[in-house]
C-alpha cells in the first residue's frame, strides 16, 4: 500500500509527531511505501535542527531525519506554515525539504491512504 502521512503538530508538546513516527516506521517495516510525510500547521517545527531535548528523552527531529535518510522517505515541510512560524532552510534538519501545499494534495492523489496525526 502507498501511504501519505500528515503531521499537524510539533514535537514534544503533543504526542502526534511521536505516533506518526511510530506508525511510519511500522509501515516501512511491513514493506509499505511511504509516498511522503507532510508537515503542516505546527508540524513544521519537527524540522528544526536546533531542537535539543534532555539526553534521557527522545529527539523527534533526529528520529524523523534519520528515518527519512535511511529509507529515502520524503519529509516535506509546508512553506507557508513554516514562514509563519520562523522555520526556513537555515534551520532545516537533514532529510527535510520545504515545499508547497500541493505536495500534500499530490500525496493524497498518488497514495492509497492518507493518515493524519494532530491535536
Amino acid at each position: 500500500m502507498k501511504l501519505g502521512i500528515l503531521v499537524n503538530e510539533g514535537p514534544f508538546t503533543h504526542q502526534a509527531s511521536d505516533t506518526a513516527y511510530q506508525f511510519t516506521k511500522a509501515a516501512l517495516e511491513k514493506g509499505h511505501e511511504i509516498v511522503r510525510v507532510f508537515f503542516y500547521h505546527d508540524g513544521v517545527n519537527n524540522s528544526n535542527k536546533q531542537a535539543d531535548p534532555p539526553s534521557d528523552d527522545r529527539n523527534l527531529v533526529t528520529l524523523w531525519s534519520e528515518l527519512g535518510q535511511e529509507h529515502g522517505v520524503e519529509l516535506v515541510v509546508c512553506v507557508a506554515a513554516a514562514m509563519r512560524r520562523g522555520i526556513n532552510d537555515d534551520l532545516l534538519a537533514a532529510g527535510f525539504k520545504i515545499s508547497g501545499l500541493g505536495q500534500l494534495v499530490e500525496a493524497g492523489i498518488i497514495g492509497d491512504r492518507l493518515v493524519t496525526f494532530g491535536d
Binding site: Q15, T19, Q22, A26, H32, R113, T116, G118
Partner: protein, 102 residues
C-alpha cells in the same frame, strides 16, 4: 467501503469520542490512540456510550498508549481489542479510508 476512525483525546476532556461515535456507521472501526485510550476503561463515566456500540462497530485501542498510561492492569470495555503500531497499519489497509477526529 467502511471507515477507520481514530480518536486521540480523553473522553473526560473533549467531546471527540462522542462526536465520532455519533457518526460512525455500523461496520466501521474506531481506534483509540494517545489520550484517546482512556475511553477504553471500563466502569467510568464515559464507558457506557462506547460500550453501547460494541457489536455494531469494531473497537480497538493502541496497546503502547494503554501501557504508557498505566492502564494495562485495569479492566477494559468488552469487545475491545488491543493492537500495536503494526496492527494500526493493518487497519489502515483493511478499511477504505481514515478519518481522524482531531
Amino acid at each position: 467501503m467502511a471507515l477507520l476512525h481514530t480518536v486521540n483525546k480523553s473522553p473526560f476532556e473533549r467531546n471527540s469520542l462522542s462526536d465520532c461515535l455519533r457518526r460512525a456507521k455500523n461496520g466501521s472501526a474506531v481506534l483509540l490512540i494517545e489520550d484517546g485510550v482512556y475511553g477504553a476503561l471500563q466502569g467510568t463515566s464515559a464507558s457506557d456510550e462506547i460500550s453501547s456500540r460494541d457489536g455494531s462497530i469494531k473497537l480497538y485501542a493502541l496497546g503502547p498508549d494503554v501501557d504508557a498510561r498505566g492502564l494495562s492492569e485495569k479492566p477494559l470495555i468488552d469487545g475491545l481489542e488491543l493492537i500495536d503500531y503494526a496492527g494500526f497499519v493493518d487497519l489502515v489497509e483493511e478499511y477504505s479510508s481514515v478519518q481522524s477526529w482531531l
